[in-house]
Subunit: 430 residues, 2 copies
């Protein structure tokens, strides 16, 4: 059987290992860091994940969907918190029964590695750092951190699932005709925590909590242990100017997120701010996703996106499913053909979800408070009820379907030709 080498034991790397093991391939996974299952938890550095349809489909294909969904908390609406600390506005994500699942990234990663390890075809090698790639001889050259030795691994296929800062992508970035861009947004983020209150969720668990405040916002997602992972997104400039010392941090939070601040607690808030700096958010696009006939970029290595559509992990998981579908179609023996076909297909979808995430960055930031946006949403949901197959709101197409991302954009453009104005008339007539 052919051999695949996967760089990166993150979410996409681990899932991809399962996929190839299922096909009977020999699988070796190399990870630069220590085994996450043996590491101490560092708070402040991870955005919670929202598993949606694409991610679920990808997990289903290797029998992991139910197992993983049970590790998370269902969310069926956004709950927008007013600045008064009391008023809220509920915005359902879709129809009754449609929901996304909040999952802790760290926990999910641990579970996924353990699941992949169950396949006898799969071997994990931690603390192995990618140094370079030899495309001609299809070799990955790594440094074994234990003894500093350089080792060479030969493979029929090398999957780079090593994240936004992919060492493989960097090593190959000077290959001719490799288009690439990385763009940072002006916002950074810090992760906070809300502990249970009397052993219960301190906030309603089954919603995505959002405190939109113009140019910055706070979100909170529930975990199964009844905590909430809270994230503040704000321009670096606002962190520097308005959250510079203990007093200003507490002031800023109390003024803008009074209800959340009470639940986080000022002690915990300050402890986190003392320990971590705001982290940057990057959007990455490249084309093609393959290098020659042996290297394929997948997940964040191919298309890291800003986290405002909750699709980063879902798109990465879907990569594994799409690759599997292309392998079925073209055959395991024609790897060159598979990579070419996969890249031609996946690049435009990756670009599309990247653009949508960037668009939602603005929406989350601001639009949710605007009346015209609310009207548009009601219009979408209303029409969707009448023509469920044709008229699916943008968020729904991205989140509750596997309609290809680039088709989502095309459909949205068609739908926008019938505008909110027409709806106002329509509504009035009926």
């Amino acid at each position: 059987m052919p051999k695949v080498v996967i760089a990166g034991a993150g979410l996409v790397g681990a899932l991809n290992a399962c996929y190839f093991a299922k096909r009977g391939w020999q699988v070796e996974v190399y990870e630069a860091r220590k085994d996450i299952r043996t590491m101490e938890h560092v708070q402040g550095r991870s955005i919670n994940l929202a598993l949606s349809e694409r991610g679920k489909s990808a997990l289903s294909a290797v029998g992991l969907s139910d197992y993983i969904v049970n590790e998370g908390v269902k969310m069926d609406a956004r709950l927008v918190h007013g600045i008064d600390g009391v008023s809220t506005d509920r915005q359902p994500y879709g129809h009754p029964g449609q929901h996304i699942v909040s999952i802790n990234r760290r926990h999910l990663n641990e579970v996924m590695i353990s699941q992949a390890e169950k396949y006898e075809e799969v071997n994990f090698f931690f603390e192995h750092k990618v140094l370079k790639v030899d495309l001609d001889s299809k070799q990955l050259i790594l440094k074994r951190m234990e003894d500093g030795e350089e080792i060479c691994v030969r493979a029929d296929l090398i999957c780079a699932c090593d994240g936004a800062y992919s060492a493989i992508r960097r090593a190959l970035s000077t290959q001719p005709c490799f288009d690439y861009s990385q763009e940072y947004i002006e916002h950074g983020y810090i992760e906070l925590n809300i502990l249970p209150k009397n052993d219960q969720f301190a906030l309603e668990p089954n919603v995505f909590h959002l405190w939109p405040r113009g140019n910055f916002c706070l979100i909170a997602l529930a975990n199964i242990d009844k905590t909430f992972t809270v994230t503040i997104f704000a321009p670096f400039q606002i962190f520097e100017q308005h959250m510079s010392d203990d007093e200003s941090i507490v002031d800023f939070f109390t003024k803008n997120f009074p209800d959340a601040t009470e639940l986080i607690g000022t002690e915990s808030l300050l402890e986190t701010f003392h320990r971590v700096k705001p982290l940057p958010l990057v959007s990455i696009k490249c084309k093609p996703h393959n290098f020659g006939d042996c290297v394929l970029l997948m997940g964040d290595a191919a298309h890291a996106m800003v986290p405002f559509y909750g699709q980063g992990m879902n798109a990465g998981f879907e990569d594994c499913l799409v690759l599997s579908e292309v392998l079925d179609q073209i055959g395991d023996k024609d790897i060159a053909g598979v990579l070419k076909h996969y890249s031609a297909k996946r690049v435009k979808d990756a670009h599309a979800i990247n653009d949508l995430a960037m668009y939602n960055y603005c929406e989350l930031r601001d639009l949710v408070n605007h009346a015209s946006f609310k009207l548009r949403r009601k219009f979408d949901l209303f029409l969707n009820r009448i023509f469920p197959r044709i008229w699916i709101p943008l968020y729904g197409m991205v989140t509750f379907s596997r309609i290809r991302y680039h088709e989502v954009i095309e459909r949205k453009k068609r739908q926008d030709r019938v505008g909110v104005k027409d709806f106002a008339n329509f509504n009035f007539l009926h």
Copy 2:
């Protein structure tokens, strides 16, 4: 005095060395390749350069302008060659007296290194390959190819003048908030040659020869040794499909560039095509141009552009002049301040000339044959004669002035509000 380490002994690196030597800085230049003055000439890999106002200004400031201009051939117009092999159309670049200078890249580089070496402050180190950069300790770590030793060089300022594939930029590309993009165009190029005929130029020397053929084109620029450097630009697909074997290559050239093909000669044409593959063309943008308070990207490392405006070298040379101006303004002691100021200023101009070059890519390819474009040019030149200070055609602003590139675009936008249509009326009335 402070010490600057320059990575790259290309055109920008060598000129930059002169600038810093003039300020009295200690200068060390590290180059990965051998000394170009000792290397054999490889034909087929270099586009000729057109020195224009910005480049000349930058050379003047270190007393090199007259010297270098004498090494080149003046060009005061485009000469567009018809497909019949006989007809031509002359398009002056500006007013009488305005011209650009055709220079051979290789020769210019040799001259520049020798000029820089004359300063006692300057030392060149060839065959030293950049491995990494330590921003905190302001150290460049290099591999000395001679004995394979790793050496560390400390500097107050590190200038990365190491070209489009800059090793320094790559080593630092994962620094937070470094925006970067590289984009390849569908065209590649191959360099050819026209030898003298009876010891004379085989074509008119003082023009830029252009054979536009829709989606591909040929250009020829004179050298002082009475040869011409000829370049074919075409989509890779056209190279593959229409220039795949000896017969098709000769056919393609004879059909599309009959006059040029005769001068190149089929033997020389085929020899070159056997030896070299078409090379890709990349457009690079990044922001900021500095990393922290000690590394600055300059020239192609900061803003490689497609060669269709003839501004790559000129923009790189102007970088040295702008940096020198900023050093004068802020002072040699505040390097952090200088880098911040330089980057804030230069990024938007680099982006602008990149965009203009990409725009000209389309123009050169196609527009020159269109009547509306010719009309627009006549209109521009006419108005420029009436209001020389206000109404300068786009090409003139880029080529014959030091108006900042981003201001060129802004002025152009204002000018475009008075359109060709108005000119047609105006012309009719007078």
